[in-house]
């Protein structure tokens, strides 16, 4: 009995002492409720880059508190679930999977541009806050970049418990949920992804003269393109992630050298 009491006191004391020294936070996979939306009639593939699936953020707050936040599979789980709800047909691809053989209208590749957080000792409030800046790169069926949408999500949780682990986890989960809400509301508005439905691949090559752009294809242009015969090209996906640069798909390796880099769009989020 006495030993139990001693270990309990020890645990409480160490938790109190650890509260001012940062922490290791690991998120469990996040689930979202079924959204009240009509799914878009598109067939999409989502490619989860390796660094997106195992994102870890390390930071030192005010030079004292060391924080390590491991988002683990939570982002991959969130985006997979969300897109299952948002589109009629979804295929989830691994980092090295080839999308060229899939009969899809679009390929979506999410990534994280930045992760930031604040704790009460910084903000002088009783709140933990998390900001996540995601980026969605959308490729058409020909493998050309169609849209590039950065979106910022924010979550806040008040302090509870003895350490900062749980409130920070909660803030991160709320930020992810915020991102999900933002994508449901604005994905089509910001990227015009619905215009990719049955979009003929042949016109996409000619569309390259205007550049693979972060700006969505205007509706009229998309309508004109629909009148042309469909043609699908065989494409090979480049390795994912920011280290590989803008992921532009190509049939001809030489052609890649001549192509202008894709502008990083910053549409309104």
């Amino acid at each position: 009995m006495r030993a139990k009491l001693r270990s309990l006191i020890g645990a409480v004391l160490s938790a109190v002492l650890m509260a001012g020294c940062g922490a290791n936070v690991t998120l469990d996979p996040v689930t979202i409720p079924t959204p009240l939306i009509d799914p878009m009639p598109l067939s999409v593939a989502i490619r989860i880059p390796a660094e997106f699936e195992h994102y870890v953020h390390e930071d030192e707050v005010l030079g004292r508190e060391k924080w390590r936040i491991d988002l683990g599979r939570s982002n991959a789980a969130l985006f997979s679930q969300l897109f299952e709800f948002m589109f009629d047909d979804v295929t989830v691809l691994g980092p090295d999977d080839d999308a060229s053989t899939l009969p899809i209208d679009a390929l979506i590749e999410p990534s994280i541009d930045a992760f930031e957080f604040s704790v009460p000792s910084q903000s002088k409030t009783e709140s933990y806050a998390v900001w996540i800046r995601y980026r969605l790169r959308i490729y058409d069926s020909a493998g050309d970049m169609y849209a590039n949408w950065p979106l910022s999500a924010y979550g806040k949780s008040e302090q509870f418990g003895l350490t900062g682990d749980e409130p920070l986890k909660r803030a991160a989960i709320l930020a992810m949920r915020d991102a999900a809400a933002l994508m449901i509301m604005n994905l089509d508005k910001s990227t015009a992804i619905s215009a990719l439905k049955d979009r003929p691949a042949a016109t996409l090559a000619s569309g390259r003269s205007t550049g693979a752009t972060s700006e969505p294809v205007p509706g009229e242009q998309a309508a004109q393109q629909k009148t042309r015969p469909p043609k699908r090209r065989d494409v090979t996906l480049p390795p994912p992630g920011p280290a590989a640069g803008p992921a532009v798909l190509s049939m001809d390796a030489d052609e890649d050298d001549k192509r202008d880099p894709v502008p990083e769009g910053s549409t309104d989020d």
């Binding site: 959204p35 009240l36 939306i37 709140s127 924010y154 806040k156 915020d178 999900a180 809400a181 509301m185």
Partner: protein, 226 residues
């Protein structure tokens, strides 16, 4: 002395002690009615916090307190837990997407499944809470020391907490604002110490919760026939 007399005397002493050991609280609760209210059997209400995207910092504890206070007792209202309501209508009541004004309600109701989900839960009123409890002043000094022969504290400290909350009531039947209830509570706590510290705590947030919940219940249930 009978046992009953002894027991009531003990309760009286405990009550007197509790009164003596609490700080000072000043409270003002008001309502502003914009329409006729009333609630029928089976109809429910939901308590939500205004979005933190708009800078609101209403505490979860306060929302839970209002929910408990409104649903408790023989005249308790049917309160849908806020998390259940928000999840059932995902993503339309998230901090980013929730309507900020009643004029956004008609559009919201047209979204697929929203009106049906609200009807399933028979939600008549949404109450939007705004505000928080802040420490606005404090002072004094208190020092404690301990040695082999014992220890103790000497000094005096005080602090003042202000709990300011506003509850905007939306009537989902008419898709309009029914009015609002506000609670402004100021509580000053004292901590005198002469060897042993004696805390005289003013629970401003708890007082604001009790006052707002009582007024809110009257506001929703009792129609003054304006």
């Amino acid at each position: 002395m009978t046992e009953a007399t002894f027991s009531s005397g003990r309760t009286f002493t405990a009550g007197l002690l509790a009164l003596a050991l609490s700080g000072c609280i000043t409270s003002r609760v008001e309502d502003a009615r914009e329409g006729i209210t009333g609630i029928e059997a089976g109809e429910s209400i939901v308590i939500l916090a205004k979005s933190y995207h708009l800078g609101n910092e209403t505490e979860d504890k306060y929302i839970n307190c209002i929910e408990d206070a409104l649903s408790r007792g023989s005249k308790g209202l049917r309160v849908i837990p806020h998390k259940q309501f928000v999840d059932s209508l995902f993503p339309w009541f998230e901090p980013r997407t929730a309507p900020a004004e009643t004029k956004g309600l008609p559009k919201l109701m047209q979204r697929p499944g929203v009106a049906e989900r609200i009807a399933e839960q028979n939600v008549r009123y949404i109450v939007w809470l705004d505000g928080d409890t802040d420490r606005v002043a404090g002072g004094g000094s208190l020092s404690c020391a301990a040695g082999p022969g014992g220890g103790g504290c000497f000094g005096f400290a005080w602090w003042q907490n202000d709990a300011d909350y506003n509850a905007a009531v939306w009537d989902l039947k008419g898709l309009e604002s029914a009015g609002s209830v506000t609670a402004d509570v100021s509580g000053t706590s004292f901590l005198p110490a002469l060897v042993v510290p004696i805390p005289l705590i003013a629970r401003a947030r708890a007082a604001a919760c009790k006052g707002l919940a009582e007024q809110l219940r009257t506001f929703i249930v009792d129609d003054p026939q304006v």
